[in-house]
């Protein structure tokens, strides 16, 4: 008689953004099926914004996600500006990147300390770590306070930044505030280095070791960063952002309100901090460059857990980068916050590196309104690859105590830092 196996499920993965679950179906010959169920309800962002006025649609897009609302806002605004044929001045671009860096710092700090670290330290909840790991929790709070303060100053608030508009900003902080921002970034650098040290000591599970295709935005000006107009693949291929649909092909899968993406229609791929490091480490500079050189073996392309350490590396990098960008802007002081934009018809694609990886916005503007919108988020790109890694983990541990298996597979998912709300904002076919 055949044995009966109940599926092993985590209905609601904790300590990630959004609502998703894992389902592992085990049979006589091992793991039969692994599914990441994305059960967050659909929100139809593209459908609700088509036909709407450009500025109103741009106010709504960041609501796709709170953990990276600045990323959504800045990418959407750039896509709109490209569509109408407008380019912001260099100093405005520099300050937008500083805002984006605020998002990176907050998001990485939150993910590393509050979502990932409790697994390694044996806690269910970061707040319970307070007695024994007060220093770590305080660093987490200091870093997130820095990131959210930067977004407050440049974006009007830390979640859903209304201050970013086509043509520039509604209002800019004064010079003293920007100088203070620079100082606070300098002061926070040791905290970022401490974070890197801490995460360099954490286990990267060998169960999920194997080749991974990485994709990342090729940064403008050959400096490691956020904005770019082409996508690089770790197999050496590169394509202009406009061609994303050709090489990052989406499919609807029945266990998820989020679609899955495949490289050239067949291969799962990864995007995120580790993918940026794998594809563009040669464009790092400063202290982050040194740390990369001395920890290359840990920042390897073959393990999704390396994403945690790559985020820690980026905390160091983006602080130094933020300081340089503020200097760039200050050199042009006083800065006019906003230029008039003439809204024309057109189509624009913006690709940026959100904290969790490649974010794509393609917008068509007609008569001042959105005529077409396509948004693809890093988590949606990552889902197919994530399932592969969860499966690898499950295949090694399906005979273990189910609690252990659940714990290990959740850790794999968390290493990707998924943003599930983001992934079900959903996209046109």
């Amino acid at each position: 008689m055949k044995n009966l196996y109940l599926p092993i499920t985590v209905d609601h993965i904790a300590r990630v953004e959004g609502k998703g679950g894992v389902e592992i179906i085990v049979g006589d010959d091992g793991v039969k099926e692994v599914k990441l169920n994305i059960i967050e309800g659909p929100r139809f962002f593209e459908a609700i914004t088509v036909g709407k006025k450009l500025d109103e649609a741009l106010a709504v897009y960041p609501r796709i996600c709170s953990f990276c609302s600045a990323a959504h806002k800045l990418t959407a605004v750039e896509a709109a500006e490209k569509a109408i044929g407008f380019e912001v001045r260099e100093e405005i671009q520099a300050l937008r990147e500083v805002l984006y860096i605020g998002d990176m710092i907050e998001s990485h700090a939150l993910h590393l300390y509050l979502l990932v670290l409790p697994d390694y330290m044996g806690y269910s909840n970061p707040l319970k770590m307070l007695d024994k790991y007060k220093k770590e929790i305080n660093i987490a709070l200091d870093l997130k306070n820095l990131g959210s303060w930067m977004m407050d100053e440049l974006g009007a608030r830390a979640i859903h930044q209304e201050n970013v508009v086509m043509g520039g900003f509604g209002k800019l902080p004064d010079k003293t505030t920007l100088e203070k921002m620079k100082k606070r970034l300098q002061e926070a650098l040791p905290l970022a280095e401490y974070t890197f040290e801490l995460f360099s000591k954490l286990e990267q599970y060998e169960e999920v070791e194997g080749p991974i295709i990485h994709m990342a935005v090729r940064p403008r000006g050959d400096v490691y960063g956020i904005y770019g107009d082409a996508i690089s693949v770790s197999d050496g291929f590169e394509f202009p952002s406009e061609d994303y649909k050709k090489h990052m092909v989406e499919r609807v899968v029945e266990h998820s309100f989020a679609k899955h993406s495949f490289y050239n229609g067949e291969k799962p791929f990864m995007t995120g901090a580790i993918s940026r490091v794998v594809n563009h480490a040669d464009k790092l500079y400063g202290r982050a460059k040194e740390l990369y050189e001395s920890h290359k073996d840990l920042l390897r392309p073959t393990n999704p857990f390396a994403n945690n350490l790559a985020q820690a590396l980026e905390l160091v990098y983006f602080m130094e980068r933020g300081i340089d960008l503020i200097d760039e802007a200050l050199a042009k002081w006083p800065i006019r916050p906003r230029d008039e934009v003439a809204v024309k018809d057109g189509f624009g694609v913006s690709t940026t590196e959100a904290p969790r990886g490649i974010l794509v916005y393609a917008l068509e503007v007609k008569d001042g309104r959105i005529a077409y919108a396509d948004i693809i988020t890093p988590t949606a790109f990552n889902l197919a690859m994530m399932e592969v890694h969860v499966r690898m983990m499950a295949e090694k541990h399906y005979n273990d105590d189910p609690e252990r298996l659940k714990y290990l597979t959740e850790m794999v998912v968390r290493a990707y830092d998924p943003c599930i709300s983001c992934s079900v904002h959903v996209v046109r076919l």
Binding site: G18, P42, F44, A47, E56, L114, N125, V253, L429
Partner: protein, 263 residues
């Protein structure tokens, strides 16, 4: 010692921004000695949606059949239910196209693709269960959380805000975006409490805290002003519906203004 207050934070369909705002408050550390977090999936792996709680915070709009079941369970288990943020209170920006059918929206986004869960049109929490208190905003301000929890902890009840963003904007001495710059600012009909955050940056209010309650949101009066500035009825409704699509008064009051002219 008195028993700790049991708190649950539950998420329906949303961006998780309200929880993030709550989690990002340093003050949460001061709350911990007095409170026990029973359910909060965003931060705690040992969460349970089946445990009784004193205060249930609910973020997100109701957008799947499963979420309706969850809501009923939360209501049964909670003494105080707080709807948090524009999704839970007003149905969120995902309600902007309230009048389009689910089938139409589904087709635009998923084509002929099928998933095994049951989606629904987004609705506010109050359409399904009784809500005891609301925190407005997209996201609510940190002080909104502190005020509500602080008040509950001392055994009292928080007041509702019943005046518009304009009041706070005037107190801050901002130039008027509506009158002086001619932009369609929703400050006059939108619930205050944000300290006129966006107008203070020179950005017209989009109404994220929702229309003022007690039937004093003068959609008609503002619509008349917008109309004088050249906006069509459709444009006015579109803007007011970003966060107020489920408001029962909105269309009727805007309609009134456009009927006036014909007479």
């Amino acid at each position: 010692m008195e028993r700790k207050v049991r708190i649950g934070f539950y998420a329906l369909t949303s961006c998780y921004g309200c929880q993030l705002q709550f989690a990002m408050m340093d003050e949460i550390l001061q709350l911990l000695p007095n409170a026990e977090i029973v359910c909060w999936y965003m931060l705690d792996r040992d969460s349970s949606e089946d445990e009784p709680v004193d205060i249930a915070f609910i973020e997100g709009s109701v957008s799947t059949e499963e979420e309706i079941e969850l809501l009923k369970k939360i209501r049964e288990n909670a003494k105080i239910v707080v709807a948090v943020g524009s999704c839970a209170v007003q149905g969120g920006v995902q309600s902007w196209e309230k009048d389009k059918s689910l089938e139409e929206l589904w087709k635009i986004v998923y084509g002929d693709g099928k998933v095994k869960f049951e989606p629904k049109k987004a609705k506010p929490v109050e359409e399904y269960i009784k809500v005891d208190y609301k925190l407005y905003g997209c996201p609510p301000e940190k002080k909104d959380f502190i005020y509500a929890i602080g008040t509950f902890l001392v055994g009292s009840w928080p007041e509702d805000v019943d005046y518009p963003v304009c009041l706070e904007c005037r107190l801050k001495g901002n130039p008027c975006i509506l009158i002086e710059k001619g932009e369609p600012c929703l400050g006059p009909i939108t619930r205050a409490g944000c300290d006129a955050r966006c107008p203070s940056y020179g950005i017209a209010c989009i109404g994220c805290r929702g229309a003022i309650g007690y039937d004093v949101a003068w959609f008609d009066s503002l619509a008349r002003t917008f109309k004088e500035k050249g906006l069509t009825k459709e444009e006015i409704l579109e803007r007011m519906k970003i966060f107020n699509a489920h408001n029962p008064k909105l269309e009727e009051m805007v309609d009134k203004v456009f009927q006036e002219v014909k007479e």
